[in-house]
Symmetry: C2
Subunit: 158 residues, 2 copies
DNA sequence: TGTTCTTGCGTGCGTCACGCAAGCAGGGTC
DNA sequence: GACCCTGCTTGCGTGACGCACGCAAGAACA
């Protein structure tokens, strides 16, 4: 089981995670409000997958984001309409279409990632270097632990 | 500006945050799928506010979660229907109704928080005590930095 | 080669949560 | 007591989603 100290630390981590997620949601909502034509987050995530991992078929993409194929189909249509993703015929299977990020799509992706990185670096600009690196390391470890633990248990929402 | 090392660390933190948020979303979605009658996250957040900070009026609640009063009104109606929140007449103003968490509402809140804490403690059970405490400290600091930085800049979505 | 089954994708339909605008009840002011 | 203001609720339209279905293309088989 867990000691009271472990539970107390867990309470702090949980509270801060809720706070952080809430903050991220609000930043996201604010961004969407300022850029009404921007694709929503779920759609953008498809572009991220394509830009990072290369061409994929729609079904594989739906699987990757754990979403319904119909939903992905509509989201991809939106990305194609914006010129961020292209459909190319799958040479191996005529009924499938490969989805591939266009140059513009990769540009948008890189630009957003750089903006994000600069933002994070900016908000941590007053941190000691040690703390910064330690936080990155522990955050990675926490996410790893979370992922490997997720298969076994589910956490409540808050 | 930022050094390349700072940007590199920021990139790791950003990537891990995206991964972590995605994981949390999936856990949340799974929870909702398993408990179709559960209130959604935004609605539950209202209960959290009421349980933690005491009675409030609907308008103040809407302000607190940065949501439209009409949305909050419907969410509160749902919570009332479930018996988790009660409407009591505001002694100071007849048109306002104070919202207060019922005993059952507080019980549900406490139960969920304990479940969450136990889950977090469980997934970190193999962590050294030092790392656990350090992570809690740095996460809190990161969220603080984020919050104080948010007023000035906005981050892109991914 | 022609028939049938399977696979991959797109589309109509209903659902749900949300914001905006209008409506309604209660207060305050003169 | 007439007026306006305030706090909340209720239509209404919108957007994203999942489910069920339809269509096209390959695969299997006689």
């Amino acid at each position: 089981m867990s000691t009271t100290d472990e539970l107390q630390t867990a309470d702090e981590i949980g509270s801060q995670l809720v706070r952080l997620v809430r903050l991220l949601e609000r930043v996201q909502a604010q961004y969407q409000a300022e850029h009404p034509d921007a694709v929503d987050r779920a759609t953008y995530l498809l572009l991220v997958h394509l830009a990072k991992d290369g061409a994929r078929r729609a079904g594989a993409l739906a699987e990757a984001v754990h979403s319904d194929p119909s939903t992905v189909s509509r989201q991809v249509a939106h990305l194609v309409q914006l010129g961020l993703v292209e459909r190319v015929a799958d040479p191996a299977d005529g009924r499938a279409t490969l989805l591939v990020a266009t140059d513009e799509g990769r540009r948008v992706f890189d630009e957003n990632r750089q903006l994000r990185n600069r933002g994070i670096a900016s908000l941590m600009s007053e941190w000691p270097d040690d703390d910064r690196r330690t936080f990155a390391r522990l955050l990675t470890r926490f996410t790893d632990s979370f992922e490997s633990h997720k298969a076994r248990t589910a956490l409540p929402k808050s």
